[in-house]
């Protein structure tokens, strides 16, 4: 027996990070913003995008990369509103990786777009671990999920650039304390905006839409 130690010190996300960087370079060249929507299944990600299509289609040109489910239902919902949405085939994975997103992005008409949304797989853990080359991660949280989520999933909320708190129209029916949720968000990330929206009926979405447009202007 002759034991030997080989020092490696190599990042396990290295290959993913390289693809993410390629995506950032491409987005920069094409002057396109990419936002990565991360939230539980049913938190309202697709409705949020449908609302954006209804309210802002004349001022924003956007596409959606749909990674949430293997069926094409979400993509079809968006296509009905004339949004180009492509379904990513994740093979049932719990998150999207940078390489897949990169290839899907290259198939979009980037010259005509202001912004690409990625609807990530419905899950608060795994998608937060993988950089896909987005400009910003957006945490999507519905008021039906309980106030403590930001404390339970600190990585996502720490890395997110904004939180969209959805389904506020349901608040009268719930015993939900928005203040508790806001405190939990502030604890993990004090500097991010929280948009309270009812995207189904289109209430309170203006600031969220304005925030998106501001990012497009700054791009």
């Amino acid at each position: 027996m002759n034991e030997k130690t080989i020092k490696v010190y190599k990042d396990l996300m290295g290959a993913n990070a390289e693809w993410a960087q390629k995506t950032r370079d491409l987005l920069k060249k094409k002057k396109v913003v990419m936002l990565n929507l991360i939230g539980s299944p049913g938190s309202g990600k697709t409705v949020l995008l449908e609302r954006l299509a209804k309210d802002c289609s004349d001022s924003l040109s956007f596409s959606v990369l749909e990674g949430d489910v293997e069926t094409t239902k979400d993509a079809e919902r968006l296509q009905k509103l004339d949004i180009l949405a492509s379904q990513l085939l994740t093979g049932g994975a719990c998150h999207l990786e940078a390489k897949l997103v990169h290839y899907a992005l290259k198939d979009l008409p980037l010259d005509e777009l202001d912004i690409v949304f990625v609807e990530n797989v419905g899950n608060l853990v795994c998608p937060a671990e993988f950089d896909i080359g987005e400009e910003a991660k957006i945490a999507v949280l519905s008021v039906t999920e309980g106030e403590e989520k930001p404390s339970k999933y600190p990585l996502l909320f720490n890395e997110a650039s904004a939180v969209v708190l959805t389904k506020t129209d349901l608040l009268p029916h719930l015993n939900y304390k928005i203040g508790v949720c806001m405190e939990a968000i502030k604890d993990v990330n004090g500097s991010i905006p929280v948009f309270q929206v009812d995207a189904l009926n289109g209430n309170g979405v203006e600031q969220w839409h304005e925030w998106i447009k501001e990012r497009v202007r700054a791009c």
């Binding site: 010190y9 190599k10 990786e97 004090g190």
Partner: protein, 116 residues
């Protein structure tokens, strides 16, 4: 659940590193991976994936060792530096939400121990 895909990178990388060694080692004894406290990796799942992925390789039977790195930060306002009690990432000293994370997001293969 992402543990499997992360472990695949880990095992691939470890096997790749020892491929370069001449003469080829007899077996892998241990693989050490470093994981920061903010990474949401369930160790049981990582271990499970590891056992599956090393089957029929030179690393079969090897030990996976995890080194944990605590979450630390530095305050931009008052200069405080120290450990953070996740999920609270406010400055321990001044209470401001102005802390840069200085450690806790690590995820890398540190070393591979082999039997020559």
């Amino acid at each position: 659940m992402h543990e499997f895909s992360i472990c695949q990178s880990l095992v691939d990388m470890a096997l790749n590193e020892i491929k370069k060694i001449e003469p080829a080692p007899v077996r892998v004894i241990k693989v050490i991976v470093v994981i920061g406290g903010l990474r949401q990796i369930i160790l049981e799942q990582l271990q499970f994936a590891y056992d599956v992925l090393i089957k029929d390789t030179i690393a079969e039977g090897s030990v996976l060792e995890v080194e944990y790195i605590p979450v630390c930060g530095k305050c931009k306002e008052c200069g405080w530096e120290g450990f953070l009690e996740v999920p609270v990432m406010l400055c321990v000293e001044c209470g401001e939400a102005s802390v840069d994370i200085t450690s806790g997001k690590e995820l890398y293969l540190k070393q591979v121990e082999i039997d020559e």
